[in-house]
């Protein structure tokens, strides 16, 4: 079963083709990964899925419905949430408030309801606090709820971004380099967290990551991009020994050597 399908997806920036005709089907309820060397077009790929860029050609379908041309804030309501490669938290707001912003699309309180403090609006506001708190518990940040987001340590900021994305209650969670800048212990915790998200909620997770240990350990299905085109796809074992992947990462000479496997270099 496919949750998200892209076909013949193309995005050009002037003369540069950042993504050039990629086809892929992301399985429902599984963890998939998009990998590739720097500049391979991974983030452009994510930006098209989340509506920040409009693809020049091709189709993106979420649950069978096209999301090409849909505005970014509407795509969230359709069930795609994301985190960012360079962290984009609401720095001067508290940790709890950051998660509460994530719940925006599920809240109905309008201006009138808020000003008059109508029972429905008040009740909703109460439940927002509680639900946001539970999400913080889920990612293990409940102790820091009143802290300013900008003051959190790096790893915690990454987890907060995940909690905030979860607050939108997505069908598909896109994680753009969630382990970037993390130490091995933080990465290990992150692996546990992502696995828990997938197991406890059945959510489909798609991640971009350079940390091969994390990718190979978590993903069931991997898409490898290089220069904007798909050079391989398949399970971790298949990708690890795929000659084109090794070539893309290590150069042609590496392929000719014996027994080169991708994790050796990571």
């Amino acid at each position: 079963m496919t949750i998200l399908r892209v076909s013949k997806l193309v995005k050009r920036f002037g003369g540069l083709t950042a993504v050039g005709g990629v086809d892929f089907a992301f399985p429902r309820g599984k963890i998939s990964a998009v990998i590739g060397p720097n500049g391979a077009g991974k983030t452009t790929f994510f930006n098209m899925i989340t509506g920040i860029y409009t693809p020049d050609e091709g189709v993106i379908e979420l649950d069978g419905a096209s999301i090409v041309g849909v505005k970014p804030h509407q795509i969230v309501s359709m069930g795609i949430a994301r985190t960012f490669q360079n962290i984009r938290l609401f720095g001067s707001m508290t940790v709890l408030e950051n998660v509460m912003v994530g719940m925006h699309i599920h809240l109905k309180a309008g201006i009138v309801g808020t000003l008059l403090s109508l029972p429905a609006a008040r009740h909703e506001e109460e439940s927002v606090y509680l639900e946001a708190y539970r999400l913080l518990e889920f990612v293990g940040l409940q102790e820091l709820l009143n802290e300013q987001a900008a003051n959190l340590p790096y790893g915690a900021q990454r987890r907060l971004e995940i909690a905030r994305a979860l607050a939108t209650k997505p069908k598909v969670l896109l994680l753009d380099e969630p382990a970037a800048g993390m130490n091995p212990r933080e990465t290990a915790e992150l692996i546990g967290l992502i696995r828990r998200i997938q197991e406890e909620t059945g959510m489909s997770v798609i991640l971009i990551e350079h940390d091969m240990k994390l990718v190979m350990e978590l993903s069931e299905h991997i898409l490898v991009l290089d220069y904007g085109t798909k050079i391989a796809e398949g399970g971790p074992d298949h990708i690890r020994s795929h000659p084109k992947v090794i070539e893309a990462y290590l150069g042609k000479s590496a392929v000719e050597g014996d027994n080169v496997r991708l994790e050796v270099v990571t």
């Binding site: 925006h104 599920h106 000003l115 606090y129 979860l166 209650k169 406890e200």
Partner: protein, 431 residues
């Protein structure tokens, strides 16, 4: 000193005693002196003292209301300067409401607006045109001026018109960001003023540079409001509504969306917040506060012309917000009060004093550098000093702290719901 501070911080009876003594003392000095600017300022300062106490919020509001509605009007009524005190207090109220409106745009949503006074002008003209015979120029039937009773409807109408102009301005303008937005809004402010200045031809709507005079004073059940001490109560009432609204909005879905946009537009949009629409609401709500006070201003002055709505006014309101603390409601109130008092009381009194000394031949300060003409210099200096020493303003915006323990207790034993958007949609999250 520190001991005293700690002890005061803990002991509410001591705070109450101190506050009472302070209020009694300042109120008495205002009441018994002919005109003492210092005593009056100290009396207003009691509100700041009240803010610093550790009483419960509802008690603070109660005491604040008593101070504003009973103590201050009564204390100032003792001497011949009654109306001039009340005039200052009324102006303070008008500017506080406007600064709170601008604070929504600049402080919460992070959109630098340099033409904010335009909305004030829209509100003022909305009332002025229909509360003078002016409207007869373009509406037949000699129906105008409207009776003073219409004023109350026009408060709402003025707010509504200003909000409408906020939307009209916002639609094209909010596509640009940062410095560009500041310049475009500055242009808009000037355009509105120039339009009001020139809209006497081909159809005379605003009476151009001549302005509109003899604006009907408000009336209620036959009672007519003409003096500052009467307008004071209208302003207090509207101000109460404005503060109340801002407080509610600040910690609501909408308030969080504004702040999220201020912090990071891309992330905000990735959380499902529609950028343009949310920014437009900030513009409209901020503008409506300004428009309401515009109506009051027109009725109070009984005369308005385009010169009341210059760029300097916009800058003044912005200085109030920056001085007080962007995004901080108590800060903005303090900032607005300080700047208004500086303008109306301190600078004027200083000028009078220097003039007297000059007349007596003690010193010679040429008229061209009298303090009341140095407003712009002083604002500039304030901005520089604030930027260096208190970049977050006099009272820094605070985040709402929540009771972690309470949430923890509530949270235990319930399962997390992050799945299945479809079901969550139909079920509603408010359950």
């Amino acid at each position: 000193m520190n001991h005293l501070k700690l002890w005061l911080g803990r002991s509410q009876p001591a705070q109450a005693l101190l506050l009472t003594l302070f209020v009694l003392f300042t109120a008495a000095s205002v009441y018994f002196s002919d005109k003492s600017v210092v005593a009056f300022l100290l009396l207003l300062g009691s509100l700041l003292l009240l803010y610093l106490t550790t009483f419960r919020t509802s008690i603070k509001w109660g005491i604040g209301a008593v101070l504003l509605v009973v103590v201050i009007p009564f204390a100032t009524s003792g001497g011949p300067a009654h109306q001039s005190y009340m005039e200052v207090a009324t102006q303070c109220g008008i500017y506080i409401a406007m600064a709170l409106g601008l604070n929504i745009v600049v402080g919460f949503a992070g959109l630098l607006d340099l033409g904010f006074v335009a909305f004030f002008a829209v509100g003022a003209y909305t009332y002025a045109i229909f509360a003078t015979p002016q409207a007869n120029e373009f509406i037949s039937g000699q129906l105008f001026p409207l009776p003073g009773g219409a004023f109350w409807i026009f408060i709402v109408l003025g707010g509504f018109m200003a909000a409408l102009f906020g939307l009209l301005l916002g639609l094209p303008v909010l596509r640009v960001k940062g410095d560009y937005l500041a310049i475009v809004t500055l242009g808009f402010g000037e355009i509105i003023r120039i339009i009001f200045n020139n809209l006497d031809r081909p159809v005379n709507i605003t009476n151009g540079a001549m302005g509109l005079s003899s604006i009907q004073p408000p009336s209620l059940f036959g009672f007519s409001f003409t003096f500052p001490n009467q307008f004071y109560f209208i302003v207090i009432l509207i101000l109460a509504i404005v503060i109340f609204s801002v407080k509610r909005l600040e910690h609501s879905r909408l308030g969080r969306a504004w702040k999220a946009i201020r912090e990071n537009e891309i992330a905000a949009q990735s959380m499902g917040i529609p950028l343009i629409r949310t920014k437009l609401t900030a513009f409209a709500i901020g503008a409506s506060f300004s428009g309401m006070m515009g109506v009051v201003f027109a009725a109070k002055q009984t005369f308005i012309d385009p010169t009341s709505f210059t760029l300097l006014e916009s800058i003044t309101i912005l200085v109030m917000v920056l001085l007080g603390g962007m995004g901080s409601v108590p800060g903005v109130i303090l900032g607005a009060a300080l700047v208004t008092i500086l303008n109306l009381q301190v600078l004027t009194e200083l000028t009078n004093w220097i003039n007297q000394l000059t007349l007596q031949g003690i010193i010679h300060i040429p008229n061209s550098i009298s303090p009341s003409k140095m407003q712009r210099l002083i604002f500039g200096a304030i901005l520089v000093l604030v930027a260096i020493f208190r970049p977050n303003g006099l009272i820094t915006a605070k985040n709402k702290k929540v009771d972690a323990e309470r949430l923890k207790t509530l949270s235990t034993g319930r399962s997390l719901s992050v799945t299945s958007p479809a079901k969550q949609h139909s079920g509603g999250v408010g359950q």
